[in-house]
Symmetry: D2
Subunit: 342 residues, 4 copies
């Protein structure tokens, strides 16, 4: 049984980790911390977990995690970097669901996150936890940087095209639509029901933190290109729909086959039949990225449609997938539930 700790469990990725761990047969939540809610029962804050999680939130400290095999950071950015080293030294493996260890180039990270990084050497060691890209490295990692929600959908949409040199990397446009849970669980007028429902808007058109993350990961596979990334906020809770455009390079008769072959053995990437349009709800609550690829002959462009649940394959589910790899249990353990439709 894998003994699990969670740091900062009062946000949406925290409660989603608990929802998924509640039915994971080989992992057990031992401790969950929250400075603000220390002493509160988890199930008092989240009644959906009544009868399934009997813990109280406790004060964060290295001692609190003693006995854990792995600790998930479900905290805001810049928290994990201050605590990861102590945990690793105590022999506890770490999966950070925030952004502290995702970007290797420290000045880039510091520019976008507005902070000085306190442990650059751990950034160098950390493995970017996208199993479809780094499965073998993840198995042996002490420290995993769990990918951002947008980067997961966009990168998985692009990998087969880039691996087969089918597109001009300089032409990539990722027009992304996200549910509101991506903004986190916090007191804010901007995320109020009356502000979000029945409306759509773009945001951060001039630059979003997931743009340098996508660029950095593409560089690890030798793709160096500016790309356009435009996030939009949708009136829904869960789900990201990435619509990725790129100019075609050379013939593409078999792009459907290429995608199917590329992801044939991946348990959590589903390539739909030619001509399909995936819906975000088809993966609601499921650890899955569902993809359809289109070639538009008149414009000689590819359009890849890629959907995920931002809290699952885009966060907590992928984190558990990484945990499964790190502890050598079947990668799909606890993650096989289908999407909830309707």
């Amino acid at each position: 049984m894998i003994k699990v700790g969670i740091v900062g469990g009062t946000g949406y990725t925290g409660v989603e980790l608990m929802r998924l761990l509640a039915r994971h047969p080989l992992a057990k939540l031992e401790v969950i911390t929250s400075r603000a809610q220390a002493g509160t029962g988890v199930a008092d804050l989240f009644p959906s977990l009544r009868g399934l999680v009997d813990l109280n939130f406790c004060e964060p400290s290295v001692d609190a995690y003693r006995g854990c095999d792995v600790v998930f950071f479900a905290t805001p950015n810049t928290t994990a970097m201050t605590q990861a080293e102590q945990l690793l030294e105590a022999g506890i493996r770490v999966i950070d669901l925030a952004a502290d260890f995702r970007i290797k180039h420290i000045p880039t990270w510091e520019q976008w996150y507005g902070a000085s990084h306190v442990c650059p050497e751990l950034v160098a060691e950390a493995v970017y936890g996208l199993p479809e890209l780094n499965r073998e490295l993840i198995r042996n990692a002490r420290l995993v940087a769990n990918p951002g929600c947008y980067p997961t959908t966009v990168i998985l949409a692009l990998l087969p095209l880039l691996a087969n040199n089918l597109i001009d990397p300089g032409s990539i446009i990722a027009d992304c639509k996200s549910g509101s849970s991506g903004a986190g669980r916090k007191a804010s007028i901007d995320t109020a029901f009356c502000e979000i429902t029945e409306s759509v808007k773009a945001y951060a058109v001039q630059g979003h933190r997931h743009l340098p993350e996508i660029r950095a990961i593409l560089q690890t596979i030798d793709v160096d290109a500016e790309l356009v990334f435009t996030p939009h906020l949708m009136p829904m809770v869960r789900g990201i729909h990435a619509t990725v455009y790129a100019d075609a390079c050379g013939p593409a008769d078999d792009v459907q086959d290429l995608f199917e072959d590329f992801y044939r053995d991946e348990p959590f990437v589903d390539v739909m039949p030619a001509g399909s349009h995936p819906e975000t709800r088809s993966v609601r609550g499921a650890n899955l990225c569902r993809i359809a690829v289109h070639y538009l002959a008149p414009a000689d462009k590819y359009v890849v449609l890629s959907v995920e649940d931002n809290l699952v394959k885009g966060a907590a589910g992928q984190a558990i997938q990484n945990m499964n790899l790190m502890f050598a249990v079947d990668e799909t353990t606890g993650l096989a539930a289908p999407g909830m439709v309707p």
Copy 2:
């Protein structure tokens, strides 16, 4: 392994049965029928089930279900009564998620459902599948009438009060709020997104089919009373919130304890702490009825708040709970997932 058939699997209760059976370790879906979709792949109609259900819909016929241990009818009312007898004769047990076998008094049923009943003798045999009321009978039943969604929440709210003679049965008012999935999956202007979202309305104030069902079941515990039942349509998919009012009879110092005691051993009824207000989302996707009881001293009335997911504890989940009882597997098998929040 329990071999399962589903009749009429293209509606919301059908797809919900498949979602839940996909993670049931002791049951296997063998056949699913649909006259309209015969030949279509289940996963083509419901992409959320891609990789989990490999069957095609087939034409309904008794032969189609040969080899099944149990068949669920996820059909409109008046279908199951025409086919149940043949299945039972073939040694197949039947769980009807529609209303054909819920009301013992045939003239009442015929009045509310506008049809002649074709097998009154099976109505007499059928067991009303509310485990909290009829657990032992269900274990041995050949034919189970799965309760309606509204009656499940309302009856579970009332049972502890009625069992302890705490209320005047003639004063009961059940003001109920339901999500749109209760109306089924069908082509209709009335259930269109643009008609439902951002609006609330009552319907069938003068009489809804679940009113005689509630009355009939209360009569089985010797409570005979007119009650007022007012359903309302909410702009959401899943969930019923019943707000049940009744005049108090005599002192009620310990109503919280009475509720907790009454449901202490029930795996799928959760009595919240005194003063609570359950949210429907806390049971979204979960087989659970969550209840809070309030006593209003100035008016000397009880108010019981009772929530469920109408597709789970109100339909498909309760049907699987009944199946578990009928086949002597642990009642909670395949039904332990927590509600999906957010």
Copy 3:
């Protein structure tokens, strides 16, 4: 031209006042104050008003309102009572959209609002701004207490029944469903999109501030009764649906006629045909309370369905209706727009 000031215009009732005033041909917004947003352009905060409102928010002060004929308080409770006297002394009439002047009995008000009232003598003078009840008093009022959103729907549902002695006042139950905008525009986890959407819950079952308000107003028409008032939160922005139950007293053959007669000359109460079920969206954005009355013979009870837009007839629209009365312009001026459907 009526010169208008608004105190505290950054909330939903404030922006709704501006939306409605923007097309009022006989009123002109002269000044709008907000301590937090002083200096900000109104249209920068609310882009829907670009081109229609050219004012900046300014610091609140009596001087700021000099020249106004009327000032609306769209502020939290306990603000208006500290400023109303100065404005009245300066000859400016006041309409308070909050609760400071609604309840004549000061100890009751102080108990429910948790504050000492600073101007009880103005409470005594204030007129409760429900035109259907107090039209003539409103015309001459210096100070109007604009009714709460719930009380407006509930009282309008009850008036014809009470006026005709058709019900037992002690049996009244008002089960009310409200959209989220009733909670105001504020930074709060509880009102976040991810917390509100796709869920329903009751709240304040043990007592909500609108309960003593309803009781107090009913007492002004000589009805003294405990009543049960249960508010519920709906996953929508605008709208209240009150479902009001009461035991019938004596025969009721003509209740439909009684309702139609009672409201025949009311421009903003619409009695629907017998058997109807009003939808909240039918009054979305409109200054209208739409009502249907049902008599349930088996239970000998009345059920009145009453809907309004909580921001319009339940707040800003009714406030402008009161202003029209106070300034002797046609009561419907600027308020004739139909509900927005879909």
Copy 4:
């Protein structure tokens, strides 16, 4: 007073025409037809119009429209082309809200709409009713082809860039997000609440009818280019958000000024300040296209964000704007209401 007829008034554009005409001081609805609802009261089908529209739907016929100055076709495609000629001969001007007269090249129209056109000569005469492009032609038109909802937002986003030769037309990508009301008011599983809410999907990626319309209109201003147009369905009722990408040609220091200058005199196009992100709700119910232009230096591309209410500036509001032009009344008459927020 302009005498107005509406053909096919039971859809969302029909009821929206009525909502807007109800407060138009210079137009009066005289007749509304519907084969399916002939004899039904308009306000019985749409209770939001109770007290404002006293007409019944009547059978469509040329006689029915006698006495009208203008008739709006709020019908499915291919209806207006069978009736327009008779109306024009009777001296009645026609505004078609469907697509029968939008595309001059008949073979293209016939290919996309799957029908033979019955009056090509009227197509030649018809004026495309985008006032920002064809204001003077509209004034004198007998027959106006009201633009599609997507083309309105996309073309208004592109006009300033194309007019100033700032972009490569061959690089245009229009990623568009629409509310569900664009699919019309009809009985269909695909548009059911439970199918639409809490989900996002692309559709018609391989080709949507509004693509040839956009291309055809751009050709009228001498721009001939393939463009990529990807519509997406959003879980909301009203609103289109177009995100339009194009490669920059040459320097662009003053693109903000160019947009502001281009639309300075347009009453219904609002250019937001540099760096803005328009929300669809800011124009909900309003006849307005709100635009923000961004230049992305790293990728040397423009991104234009353009929002409208698809039922107003994208349909009924623009139709009334055209009517105002055709009858020489102030273009903004009846169309000045702000967006409804929240």
